[in-house]
Amino acid sequence: MHRIDSRDKKKLFRHEWVKFALFSLLIMILPVLFEGGYLLNVFIFVGIHTLLAVALNLLLGYAGQISLGQAAFFGLGAFASGILTATYGQNPWLMMVVVAAAVGLLAFAIGFPILKLKGHYLAMATLGFGIIVYIIFNEAVELTGGPSGFSGIPNLTVGGITFDSDFKNYYLIWGVTLVTILLSLNLVNSRIGRGLRAIHDSEVAARVMGVNVRLMKVQIFALSAVISSVAGSLYAHTMTFVSPTSFGFNFSVELVTMVIIGGLGSIYGSFLGAALLTLLPEFLRAFQDYDIVVYGFLLVFMTMFMPGGLVRGIPSLVQNLRARIGGGASDA
């Protein structure tokens, strides 16, 4: 028994590595296909959004805890990095780490009381937190520049390289994103990941099995805040300009949409969701303003008819179709 078990595990393990390697390869050669065009720029955003969606997915998809305030952590990372480097001339890399740690601590602190709440109430509490932070971004004008935004944020540099072009930023951001994906895959396939899924299914059962439910929920909340904050710092240094509108309630909802569309509890699904929701508005630009209707429709439709997201929905759809066609053929 044991030997089969571990051999299966090894096989699964190898399978995961191959998947990850192929995915990374695809990401690495994309810029060559785009030839530095407009799509390259869009895919930088796909990278940032993937980072954010993976962070939220750890919380929402694995631990089953909703957060409608993720944009706040993203915004805190962006604004804090921007202000500390542009206004106070600190080292961007050091600040990225410091800010992420601070945002993580903040999430840890508010996580204990907030994550006691469940379902609808957790949604409302995180939403409330997100809106408060958003209002502060808008009102602390001397610090953040208020509604008109904050500009003059320096690009990141390593040695002699300054990340000032789409091409360089693409590899910078996707480098971070791929590492995060790898670490997240590792995490969800570990003891912690199994604990999170146990919490998702039943908190009582998880507690009975010896999972420290309360602590684990808060830890994963803090982790997702840390990743979101790093995404925010990267965003700030790439764009060199940030404004509060990017970090509002709508963006929090957009992130939830990405995770749901891609597939709850699937890391690659988060990439799919992020890619779809980032590319969609670009294609919908012809119909301007329709994107909000499409978002709403997608959210309702996916939750009702494809609760597993694209990652699981498409294969099962294909399977159904094939079965139907196969059945039809045998009828004839």
């Binding site: 929402l60 089953g64 909703i66 409608l68 009381p113 907030i114 006691k116 709440l117 469940k118 379902g119 609808h120 109430y121 949604a123 409302m124 509490a125 939403l127 409330g128 937190f129 809106i131 408060i132 209002i135 502060i136 808008n138 009102e139 309630f249 909802v253 939830v256 949409t257 749901i260 303003d289 329709y290 909000i292 209707v293 499409v294 978002y295 709403g296 429709f297 997608l298 959210l299 309702v300 939750t303 009702m304 609760p307």
Partner: protein, 293 residues
């Protein structure tokens, strides 16, 4: 600081509070019969204002007919929403329901935007703009409309819940859906009613406040959340608790905006919301028992 204007702040706080109360009661009614927090509640408020505007300006109908039609159409929207999105999902997890109602609200908002555009519109007041002097403060006739409509609606719901069969049935559902079903109450129908009632109340709130605050396709988000805050202060009661919740919130906001900073006004509601959720999840007025956590 403008301490001499306190009575003015109190009065205007009272009128916004009344609006929050109406919206909050709508939240409570749906919550009590289904256990759902309907994130689309604010969109019914928006629909009330925008539909009235549409009937007034595009179809040139008289005000009273426009108002009645607007309430009718908004109620229909609530009922359709329940049929299409809520009923098929009756066994879904809270997270799915949160997401469905958020999706529904975005959808309704988006459709409103496509139909009526992004502009902010003014609606004429119901009976003129001559200010009325109340002590040292002045109010507009529209404020009186707000107080009157809120009072009438709250009294009517109270009577409905206390003295009619379907009202009592809805209360039974709120206590225990399963038991209500066992004694022969058609729970599905009660859920249907609760969506109809709270859509109607939300749209009424939207209609009476629109002449004061203007209206646009996206007013529902903030108003809805503030209404939810009122309901949370009131412990999700469909009566006086939420009315007090709304009034407390309205007055705190108006005082905060007048005496401290108008920019942070909107934050007040959310700070209160968080504090109540974390410290007194059963609301300000109830003793223990109700489990929100």
């Amino acid at each position: 600081m403008h301490f001499d204007q306190i009575s003015q702040y109190l009065l205007s706080g009272l009128s916004t509070g009344a609006i929050y109360a109406l919206i909050g009661v709508g939240f409570s009614i749906i919550h009590n019969s289904t256990g759902i927090i309907n994130f689309a509640q604010g969109e019914f408020v928006m629909l009330g204002g925008m539909l009235t505007l549409f009937f007034l300006s595009a179809l040139k109908l008289p005000l009273i007919i426009a108002v009645v039609l607007a309430i009718g159409v908004a109620t229909l929207a609530g009922v359709v929403f329940e049929r299409l999105a809520i009923r098929p999902m009756k066994d879904a997890s809270p997270i799915s329901l949160v997401i469905i109602t958020i999706g529904g609200s975005i959808l309704i908002r988006g459709i409103a935007m496509l139909l009526w555009g992004k502009e902010t519109h003014a609606i004429p007041t119901f009976s003129g703009n001559d200010p009325i002097l109340v002590g040292e403060a002045t109010i507009l006739p529209q404020h009186l409309w707000i107080f009157a409509v809120t009072a009438v609606v709250i009294v009517c719901t109270k009577l409905y819940f206390s003295f009619t069969i379907s009202g009592k049935a809805m209360r039974a559902c709120a206590y225990n859906r399963r038991a209500a079903g066992l004694v022969g109450i058609d729970v599905k129908r009660m859920v249907f009613f609760s969506f109809a009632i709270s859509a109607a109340m939300g749209s009424m709130a939207g209609i009476i406040v629109a002449p004061l605050t203007m209206t646009s396709y996206d007013v529902g988000v903030m108003l809805g959340l503030k209404g939810f805050c009122a309901a949370i202060i009131g412990g999700m009661s469909s009566g006086l608790g939420t009315v007090f919740g709304g009034v407390i919130l309205g007055i705190l906001e108006s005082l905060g905006a007048g005496l401290f900073s108008s920019g942070y006004k909107d934050a007040i509601a959310f700070v209160i919301l968080l504090v109540i959720l974390l410290v007194r999840p059963q609301g300000l007025f109830k003793k223990g028992e109700t489990e929100r956590v």
